[in-house]
């Protein structure tokens, strides 16, 4: 295998992981934009999605497409419920209070999963059975193709939804100025619920793709992709939808390149180092808007 092939393969690996990060990062970013909070429990929604899919396929023995829809619905409902129970009462509290509550919610989901499913990893056979293809000597596994197709389709759909539909413009209005949006007759509560539902549904899809790649389910499986995606969202400029996509993919590529060519152990340090450097050069992230305080 020559260097070109090896670099291309690593690039594709990075693109695959990165697009999963991007899906999760979109959830962080949308929620941040609209509720001005870091939803620390977002990573654990991925984990819930993974278990939901597993249960849907085994205990409920649903056919695959139905199981996938079941997973997405479970996560969306969970997202709405989390917001209603834990975050909504704290709308007027400090952002730190909300952050800690979100952390508490993350612990809660993890410990519930621990009690129900125990800490033993559940092996999971990938639901993607597509064969890989070979282009110019570069192997492209089926899972990569599916992941890229699915994430691209979702991102296009989401962009269209936010920019072209009435509900999408309500979301943009609420994230710009909640008070003004309410005065314009937008139902703020419903818009926030919708944002959490969409973000969590994206996390469900990300969760499905993620376990197809790692083939095992544990109560803490959401923590690592969660934190990486959080970094990706900030990298791209938190609150910015295209920023989350760019940040996620960039992060995935940096991670896979450093793992392959520098050091597996230092890959995380390099990823975080890139984040620090980018934020120091551009304090609001790649595509974020900097709001200067008016004196």
């Amino acid at each position: 295998m020559n260097l070109f092939q090896s670099i291309m393969e690593q690039l594709l690996n990075g693109l695959r992981t990165g697009s999963i990060y991007a899906l999760i990062a979109l959830g962080y970013s949308m929620v941040y934009g609209i509720a001005k909070m870091i939803n620390f429990a977002h990573g654990d929604v991925i984990m819930v999605g993974a278990y939901a899919l597993f249960m849907g396929m085994t205990a409920l023995s649903l056919p695959l497409p139905v199981a996938i829809i079941f997973t997405i619905v479970v996560c969306a409902v969970l997202g709405i419920a989390i917001e209603k129970v834990a975050y909504k009462p704290l709308r007027n509290a400090s952002s730190l209070a909300v952050l800690i509550t979100a952390i508490g919610m993350s612990f809660l989901l993890q410990s519930l999963a621990l009690i129900i499913f125990s800490a033993t990893p559940i092996p999971f056979k990938s639901i993607i059975s597509m064969k890989g293809i070979k282009i110019a000597g570069v192997d492209i596994p089926g899972i990569t193709i599916i992941t890229l197709v699915v994430t691209t389709a979702i991102m296009v759909a989401l962009t269209l939804f936010i920019n072209k539909t009435k509900a999408g413009s309500a979301m943009r209005a609420v994230s710009e100025d909640r008070g003004a949006a309410a005065l314009m007759g937008i139902n703020v509560n419903r818009t926030i619920s919708m944002t959490f539902a969409i973000g969590s549904a994206l996390a469900a899809v990300a969760g499905i793709l993620y376990i197809c790649q790692y083939q095992s389910i544990t109560p803490t499986l959401g923590a690592l992709p969660g934190i990486k995606a959080f970094v990706a969202a900030v990298l791209g400029g938190i609150g910015s939808i295209p920023g989350a996509m760019v940040g996620g993919i960039l992060l995935g590529i940096v991670e896979s390149m450093s793992k392959a060519y520098i050091s597996t152990e230092l890959a995380d340090a390099i990823v975080f180092g890139v984040l620090v450097v980018i934020l120091l050069v551009k304090p609001s992230g790649l595509l974020g808007k900097l709001k200067a305080e008016k004196v």
């Binding site: 941040y32 870091i38 834990a86 009462p89 704290l90 007027n92 509290a93 400090s94 952002s95 730190l96 209070a97 909300v98 952050l99 800690i100 509550t101 952390i103 508490g104 919610m105 612990f107 809660l108 993890q110 410990s111 519930l112 621990l114 009690i115 934190i227 959080f230 970094v231 900030v234 938190i238 050091s263 152990e265 230092l266 995380d268 340090a269 975080f272 180092g273 984040l275 620090v276 934020l279 120091l280 304090p283 609001s284 992230g285 305080e293 004196v295």
Partner: protein
């Protein structure tokens, strides 16, 4: 202001009496064999968490910046101090005191390194960068030779176990006194004014950057000291001990105790260190209960339920007090 000064000294005396009483009680219980082994072994972790929480409160509560990398400073102190005591061959107390000072100083130096670039950032961006720094520190310790990589350091002398509780207690009290002294001084006033309104702080001649870095450096120093105490209690340290979950644990303590409330930090650190151990019997339920308590307390504090309770006539009067600095 004669009045204020009297009040001040009176409060001071009460605090000293409380500190001495707690010490006497703990020593009596320890020597009288009234504490179970499990309880005794919790004494030092409580002290470590108090030091961590009080020092983090300086950045989060008094400077008003959110950081998620406090465990990074702790790990630097722990490693620097432990390497010293492992390789030095001096009498215990001399060695330990050197380790404390060096551990704190090295952590403070990193606090400076991290504090300077971080000046450009605020709010959530600062939080994520401090988290990143914490993780970078962890990864680097994981790779370099002198720290023995992922295996970590063993054979750290047990200088700060509950058998040497007196020295640990002195360190905790010193940490609290020094930070309280800082907060109630012109330097602390400058730090608090930046929290309340940095534009106004600049306009009255306070060099904002200098004091931000100062808060980071001092806070890192005490986190480093806490790290040294931690390492010499457990005897083994690994890079994974100091991941962002530890940082979050400290942050939770500070927020539950009350931002900018030192006494609250101390109480919350004690309760939150004891709580998981108390629930050890119900192993699986432990995390669940911790999570529920956490969410319930935040909802109670933040949703206005607390205000309604305090302003209701059923609330005992002596528990009401004006918000401020101890």
């Amino acid at each position: 202001m004669k009045n204020e000064r009297n009040k001040f000294t009176k409060g001071k005396i009460i605090n000293i009496v409380i500190a001495v009483l707690i010490y006497i009680l703990i020593m009596a219980a320890l020597n009288g064999g009234m504490l179970s082994r499990q309880m005794s072994s919790l004494l030092v972790p409580i002290c470590v968490n108090v030091m961590l929480a009080v020092s983090l409160n300086l950045i989060t509560g008094f400077l008003g910046e959110l950081t998620l990398g406090h465990a990074g400073f702790m790990s630097i102190g722990a490693y620097a101090g432990s390497l010293l005591t492992i390789y030095l061959d001096l009498p215990m107390y001399v060695e330990f005191i050197i380790a404390i000072l060096v551990g704190g100083a090295v952590a403070a130096f990193f606090g400076f390194l991290i504090g300077v670039p971080v000046l450009r950032l605020r709010g959530d961006y600062l939080a994520i960068v401090t988290l990143a720094f914490g993780e970078i520190i962890k990864s680097v310790i994981n790779v370099i030779k002198i720290t023995n990589g992922a295996k970590g350091l063993n054979d750290i002398p047990s200088y700060s176990t509950f058998r040497n509780f007196t020295i640990v207690y002195i360190l905790v009290i010193l940490t609290i006194i020094l930070i309280v002294n800082l907060v109630n001084s012109r330097h602390g006033r400058a730090i608090r004014s930046i929290r309340d309104n940095y534009i106004a702080a600049e306009s009255v001649g306070i060099p904002v950057s200098k004091f931000k870095v100062m808060a980071f450096v001092i806070s890192a120093f005490f986190a480093g000291v806490a790290g040294v105490v931690y390492a010499h209690n457990v005897g083994i340290i690994k890079p994974t001990t100091f991941d962002y979950n530890k940082s979050i644990e400290i942050l939770v303590i500070v927020v539950l105790g009350g931002m900018g409330n030192i006494r609250g930090s101390i109480i919350a650190a004690t309760i939150l260190t004891l709580l998981p151990e108390m629930l050890r019997g119900a192993d699986n339920l432990r995390m669940l209960i911790y999570a529920i308590v956490l969410i319930a307390m935040m909802l109670f504090n933040g949703s206005g339920a607390k205000e309604r309770l305090i302003s209701s006539k059923y609330f005992p009067k002596f528990l009401k007090r004006q918000k401020g600095v101890e």
